[in-house]
Amino acid sequence: MSSEFNLVTEQYDKALVIKTNGYINNTAGEKIIHEFSNHFVSSMNKLIIDMENSKVINSIGISYLLEVIEKLNENNGKLIFTNLDPAIEKTFNIMGLFQFAGKADSLESALK
């Protein structure tokens, strides 16, 4: 894991994909929100966050993800996580994220 958090965005017809790389903390959370706000358009109904290269998240990072979920709910969109590390999956379960967001084993299945 590198010292700098970075992300890559891919746009599809109905979905926006954000691939994260690094520690999801306050800075990373701000970047995710910013990327979501800039690239999620009304024709989309799904945001997919691919966390293959993120193994650590703190509760500030989680609060940003909850904010994304709320914004998506306002627009009848849905958040789907893919490639979750088991420790992060457990964290999301405890924090109740899966009450409002989905998870998929791979990006391909999330896009379906």
């Binding site: 894991m1 590198s2 010292s3 700098e4 690094g22 520690y23 903390n25 306050n26 800075t27 193994k55 650590v56 998240i57 703190n58 509760s59 500030i60 609060s63 909850l66 709320e70 709910n73 306002e74 420790a87 457990k90 964290t91 405890i94 924090m95 109740g96």
Partner: protein, 535 residues
């Protein structure tokens, strides 16, 4: 408007007010709440404009919520009312009604109503409707704030459950890995998650050398100095195995920026620090246990080699009695004795002791034993045999390994003894008439040096009633609990006093005497002896 008519109209509106309240309470954000309220006002008042404003505290500027056009300062001046009542009505002004509503979270809602399109002013029905709608908004806003507080409380509660869970998982996972780098990385990952730290590091110092040994940071490759020099940091350290392990956390994150770590963070850091220490200790103990197991195996192997070489039974010699014993110590000392029938009524009596213990000593005994049997077959004289053995042991052993070696070849018919003593304890010869000799002649231990200097031998006769006693240093150097040795003197006295016993009984009683002397002290060296008595 007549009272009855007013009541009737308001009654008809009641359902609409109820619906409005439900719409407002379903708002998912504050912006949505204001937007919905604006629509509600629009549906109830036919005016030129309705502008909404909001500010989070009294002394800051208003934010326009829904106006597409620019709001002038003169427009905003309408909102600077210091009236105690929230609603002010104007006649013949740009705005008919101005509302400044103090909300439950100390923020303010401002509303400017333009002129009614029918040109009339706000009548009683409008005024009551507005009061009801403001009350509805106020209640919906309170509900919205409470929902947010509830969400925050649920988040904080979940966060605490997560912390507890993480702490338990961290303890389990840290104990699962043997690789220290993985353990350190895992500890750092877990402690930043537990405390919302932006970064963390572990520094390991060698206490004796006062040297930095290793530094690991999370996130990786982050400047260690930036962590150590940060004003928002906490530390926890422990010492183990001559090293000091220091865990440092830097910058506690919040949504509003960086803050100082609190007491709970310190406790969590200390908890992870303790778990890390336990993991390092466990790894150390595991290593110790594996090393102990390896040594035990080596000892067992050494003992097996030694016991295979030591004779189970000694040959019967006409006109003589012979007995020997070897009691290996726990560490296996490398003692060796033998009595070999070399034909023509001749017997080789051997006593040897390898410097050192364990498998290497046992292997060297094995080499000596094999070589001895080979050389004895060639009927070499003893000094030549000792020279050859010296060369062989010198070549096949490390510099610190050598063997003290005593050999006596007995011609059982004549009683002649040819002797070489290569650095071993002197053999003791007690004559029938009570005279006593110590046989020391020979040279240095086998394998000590290879300078080409020959060993010297000695010949003497053993007559009826004479006894020859060979032993290793495990007997005179056996120590009791106060670390006093059994001593040569006590051994010689015992030999002189009990030598009339038959050899087997003498050896048993000597061993018992040594054991009585040593008491509870652990036997640190092999006990080996051989006695020959001419009948």
């Amino acid at each position: 408007m007549e009272h009855n008519s007013l009541v009737e109209k308001l009654s008809l509106q009641a359902e609409s007010f109820q619906e409005g309240f439900e719409i407002l309470t379903k708002s998912r954000s504050f912006d949505e709440l204001l937007k919905n309220f604006w629509h509600l006002l629009r549906g109830n008042f036919i005016t030129t404009d309705i502008h909404l404003f909001h500010k989070t505290s009294k002394n800051i500027n208003w934010n326009s919520i829904n106006s597409e056009r620019n709001i002038s300062d003169s427009d905003l001046s309408f909102l600077c009312q210091d009236n105690l009542v929230p609603v002010t009505y104007f006649n013949n002004q740009k705005y008919n009604v101005v509302v400044v509503l103090h909300l439950s979270d100390s923020s303010y809602l401002g509303i400017l109503f333009g002129l009614k399109l029918d040109g009339t002013g706000f009548n009683d029905f409008d005024k009551i409707t507005l009061q009801i709608l403001l009350q509805i908004f106020s209640s919906a806003h309170k509900s919205f704030i409470n929902q947010n507080i509830e969400k925050k409380l649920i988040f904080e509660l979940n966060e605490k459950v997560l912390q507890l869970n993480n702490l338990i998982d961290t303890g389990i996972e840290l104990s699962r890995y043997e690789n220290q780098k993985i353990v350190f990385e895992l500890a750092l990952e877990r402690v930043v998650t537990l405390t919302n730290a932006a970064s963390a590091m572990i520094r390991i110092n060698d206490i004796k050398k006062n040297l930095k040994e290793k530094e690991i940071s999370f996130p990786e490759n982050l400047s260690h100095e930036s962590i150590l020099n940060n004003q928002h940091k906490i530390e926890s350290f422990f010492e183990f195995g001559g090293k000091k392990y220091c865990l440092v956390l830097s910058e506690k994150e919040t949504r509003k920026g960086v803050t100082s770590f609190n007491d709970l963070d310190t406790l969590l850091l200390q908890a992870v620090s303790r778990q890390l220490r336990a993991s390092i200790e466990n790894e150390y103990l595991l290593d110790q246990s594996l090393e102990k197991e390896r040594i035990e195996k080596e000892i067992n192997l050494a003992a097996a080699i030694q016991q295979k070489i030591i004779p189970k039974e000694l040959p019967k010699i006409d006109g003589y009695q012979v007995a020997g014993i070897n009691i290996p110590s726990r560490e296996v000392g490398g003692d060796y004795f033998d009595c070999i029938d070399i034909g023509q009524g001749k017997y080789a009596l051997i006593m040897a002791d390898v410097a050192g213990k364990g498998i290497s000593a046992a292997l060297l005994v094995s080499t000596l034993n094999a070589a001895l049997y080979s050389y004895l077959e060639f009927n070499l004289n003893l000094t030549e045999l000792a020279d050859k053995l010296n060369k062989l042991i010198y070549k096949s052993s490390p510099p610190d390994k050598y063997i003290t070696f005593f050999i006596a070849v007995l011609d059982s018919k004549s009683g002649k003894l040819d002797i070489v003593n290569a650095g071993h304890n002197p053999a003791l010869l007690l004559r029938e008439d009570g005279s006593f000799e110590q046989i020391e002649a020979g040279g240095i231990g086998l394998g000590m040096l290879d300078l080409g200097i020959s060993y010297s031998g000695q010949s003497l006769s053993i007559n009826p009633g004479d006894k020859l006693f060979l032993y290793t240093d495990g007997i005179p150097e056996a120590m009791n609990l106060t670390e006093e040795e059994y001593s040569d003197k006590r051994m010689i006295d015992f030999f002189k006093k009990h030598s009339d016993q038959i050899p087997q009984e003498f050896i048993q009683s000597l061993v018992e005497d040594v054991r009585d002397y040593v008491g509870e002290a652990e036997q640190s060296d092999d006990i080996t002896s051989l006695i020959l008595k001419r009948s």
